[in-house]
């Protein structure tokens, strides 16, 4: 019996973490940044499911917003796929006054995603 081959239909891609690598050169920061030479900020992309599973770490608000979208008012959007956990990075910088700065910035790389 004829039917769709697996994977031929566009399946919704649910919210997940996507790797992203950016070079310091592409950001135009080579005048200031000594190290590292690239960043790994990553990003979150995908649909938030109607039934939020536990691993997404969604707050109660997201569950209510989903219910409102489903049952009350479709103009209220479903929750968005956004970063949940981040990791810090260390950067070595040249400063304009002739000093060199080592600095740790927090919340620079996305580590996991959530729907909220």
């Amino acid at each position: 019996q004829a039917g769709d081959a697996p994977g031929s239909r566009m399946e919704p891609k649910f919210c997940s973490l996507h790797p992203l690598q950016v070079t310091i050169k592409s950001l135009g920061w080579t005048n200031w940044v000594i190290a590292p030479d690239r960043l790994y900020p990553n990003y979150c992309q995908g649909l938030c499911p109607r039934i939020l599973r536990k691993g997404l770490n969604s707050p109660n608000h997201a569950i209510i917003q989903n219910l409102v979208n489903e049952l009350v008012n479709q103009r209220v959007p479903r929750p968005c796929c956004v970063p949940y956990q981040y990791s810090p990075i260390s950067i070595l910088l040249k400063e304009d006054n002739g000093t060199i700065l080592y600095k740790e910035w927090k919340d620079m790389n996305a580590q996991s995603c959530t729907c909220r």
Binding site: W29, I34, G98, I100, Y102, K106
Partner: protein, 222 residues
């Protein structure tokens, strides 16, 4: 394609202000740059991820080169030099954890041991407010093997409190070469300006958005 107004607004964020200030001066010497590179790779991976077991004890370390210096006097066993360092701390955003002076490579490369006395003299950035009080901040024996630092945190903390963040001070180095293998005739090497000691300021940013420190302050045993 970006709206210039929104781009300008983005560049008012502290993170981008620090990342993309004015084009830096090209006065970074190989020595200080190499020191900071070493410090960086001891504290973070090549991808920029801070190591779990890093021992900096601070979220930021600033290397301050001397802004002025007298010529190096190297008569016989003596090495004498005076250097000026501008100090600028943002009291509202930065908490000083540690201050250290890293001694010049001219000592490191000379192949003998030194006994050095470092004296400090503060000059506040106000007219008629020059404080001419020499204070011995460190007496230390230097081995010609690796980078060594003199901790002058107590002195700097005291001065910072008094000057509310802005002052400059002079460091006077008086080092005596220890009699090693019976001679002072070994020639001095590396008298370039790049051999001047530099200052390291270890501090934590209190502003929201910076990494909090969990590791305790690591001090070198003297």
């Amino acid at each position: 394609r970006v709206n210039p107004q929104s781009l300008a607004a983005a560049f008012e964020l502290p993170f981008l202000q620090e990342m993309t200030g004015k084009t830096p001066k090209s006065s970074f010497t190989g020595q200080s740059l190499q020191y900071m590179r070493d410090l960086y790779y001891r504290s973070a991976s090549p991808e920029g991820l801070p190591w779990e077991n890093r021992t900096l004890g601070a979220t930021s370390v600033r290397l301050v080169p001397a802004s002025a210096w007298t010529g190096i006097s190297t008569r016989g066993p003596w090495y004498v030099q005076s250097l000026e360092y501008p100090m600028a701390m943002d009291w509202e955003r930065q908490i000083l954890v540690r201050t250290a002076v890293v001694y010049p490579s001219v000592l490191r490369r000379s192949g003998t041991q030194f006994l050095c006395q470092v004296k400090a003299e503060t000059r506040e950035n106000k007219p008629n407010a020059v404080e001419r009080a020499f204070q011995v901040v460190s007496t230390q024996s230097y081995k010609p093997t690796a980078w060594q630092e003199s901790d002058i945190t107590a002195y700097i903390r005291q001065r910072l409190r008094k000057a509310r963040g802005w002052f400059s001070f002079w460091l006077h180095w008086e080092c005596r070469r220890q009699r090693a293998r019976g001679s002072f005739r070994t020639r001095w090497r590396g008298k370039a300006n790049s051999d001047t000691p530099f200052l390291l300021l270890y501090f934590n940013d209190t502003q929201q958005g910076y990494q909090e420190v969990g590791t305790p302050l690591h001090r070198r045993v003297r």
